[in-house]
């Protein structure tokens, strides 16, 4: 899922600026699960902004609402009325949610309340880690199900580099070396021979390097018959 974390209250106040009527919009999917922008966080953020604006001497009207998914038009339609009544929308969705609001409500000023961090999972209560870089051409079949694009600091295809030590990356003792993980897993599965092949340079065109991406599925599109 998409992992995000909240911006500081100071930054939120600066983003909201002089707007008087504020709508905080939470999202009920990924950012709810990672405790960054669900209904609970939307209510807390809303109360914090209300209180701090009062303390600053210029009280704002701050309300909050949470939709099932900020990244789908049908859920955004449900809050159209509330959005129309405020000066600014503070989205607690990921970067996709913020942009969906901007795209769906062209007349509304929307600002982000979160920093969208990565695609990952909770490895334990309170800890989230990156797992996928959405490179568009999955190579997990070559690496025992551990992604070196997302998890090696240098995205090496023929790792490990010389900076692997005691299982961690040279960048930080908190980062496990992806290639040590790959090596251990393939060794335990008796498939180390996979690592002896030279992997050719990656085609990064399927990644962001090919420009912004979109997928068109003709089999799913609703075609309008034209005369």
């Amino acid at each position: 899922m998409i992992i995000a974390e909240q911006k500081s209250l100071e930054e939120l106040k600066s983003l909201v600026g002089t707007a008087e009527k504020v709508l905080v919009v939470g999202c009920g999917t990924c950012v709810t699960v990672c405790f960054a922008g669900g209904a609970r966080e939307a209510a807390i953020t809303s109360a914090s902004l209300r209180m701090s604006s009062k303390l600053d001497g210029s009280p704002k009207q701050v309300s909050d609402v949470t939709v099932q998914r900020q990244c789908e038009w049908e859920y955004l339609d449900q809050i159209a009325e509330q959005v129309g009544q405020v000066d600014i929308v503070l989205s607690l969705g990921c970067g996709i949610g913020v942009q969906a609001i901007a795209e769906h409500f062209p007349q509304v000023w929307v600002v982000p309340g979160l920093n969208t961090k990565f695609l990952g999972l909770p490895t334990e209560q309170g800890v989230w880690a990156e797992r996928c870089a959405a490179c568009g051409d999955c190579i997990l079949g070559l690496t025992g199900g551990i992604c070196p694009i997302a998890r090696c600091s240098k995205s090496l295809l023929n790792g490990p580099c010389g900076g692997s030590e005691a299982g961690h990356c040279e960048v930080s003792p908190d980062i496990p070396c992806a290639w040590q993980l790959i090596y251990d897993r393939l060794t335990s599965l008796g498939r180390l021979n996979v690592l002896l092949d030279l992997q050719p340079p990656k085609n990064w065109r399927t990644s962001r390097d090919g420009g912004p991406r979109q997928i068109v599925r003709e089999d799913l599109r609703l075609h309008i018959e034209e005369d």
Binding site: K154, E165, C177, L198
Partner: protein
Amino acid sequence: MMANTNGYLVGSNLERVLKAGHFAVTAELGPPQSAEGDVIRKKAGLLRGYCDAVNLTDNQTAIVRLSSIAAGAILVQEGLEPIIQMTCRDRNRLAIQSDLLGAAALGIRNLLCLTGDHQTFGNHPSAKNVFDIDSLQMVQMVTAMRDERTFQCGDSFKGPEPRFFVGAAAAPFADPVDFRPLRLAKKAKAGANFIQTQLVYDIPAFEKFMAKVRALGVHKQTYILAGVGPLKSPAMAKYMKSNVPGILVPDELIERMELAGAPWAGKSKEELTKDDKKARSAAWQAEGIQICIELINKLHQIEGVSGVHIMAIEWEDAVRPIVEGAGLSPRPVVTESPPLAAALG
């Protein structure tokens, strides 16, 4: 049109010395963090005659320095042979190939392909990195530029191809240790003509590594130059032992360095005069150079080690006493064609 290299891949001095079967000596030169070309000329003067080729680091430890290719061009002017280092951190495949065409046009004929230290170590930690290709893929790419006369995309050269004697690095003691000989084998398979290793201080550990390398036959596919470097002080030895990944410094060597400074050990920081510090530093350095000479002599005995790469960082004047002390001076001059039996790589 293939270049005439008289039976050599490239004909660089390094290739000639190795193919003739001599124990090769390369040394490292760190370009300055400024535009001062004279520093390179001065350091080149310290190395002249004491090594077969000189490595020029490429923004080493991710700190911006005068470019390795520009420094290499200065060395060519000075009559020394450069090995330019090239990392995957700062350039994509277009930039690497373009810079290598330029390097070849400037008369540079040896190249060391490296992954590169992560930029978060250096003086621009907020920089974006590249890592479009990795070091093995770079070896393959530059080997194909030379031997297939093609760019990475597959297009053929219309003019002369860049010809490099291609090197790669090995970290014998980095983790996972058991994979290191196999990774070296991959580098040889990718086309590396020579290998320069990370610093070796622990001879028994390196012997174990080389035994595995020999079992894989890799020492017959590529020339392996063991990395050595003089210790400057006990503190440097301890720092490397505990803070630099992939470097093993035996306690015995740290003790030797401490012993060298023993005459001054009784004095407190306040009691040490400037002259004391100078004398202690000289004693440490002399011991560091002596240890380095002994390491070279031991490495020379290991089957499959074709030479040494001396990394005396910011201490280039240590190279001469090391090379002389190890009996590796004067350096050979190889003018004839390569002997057929030794023509590997």
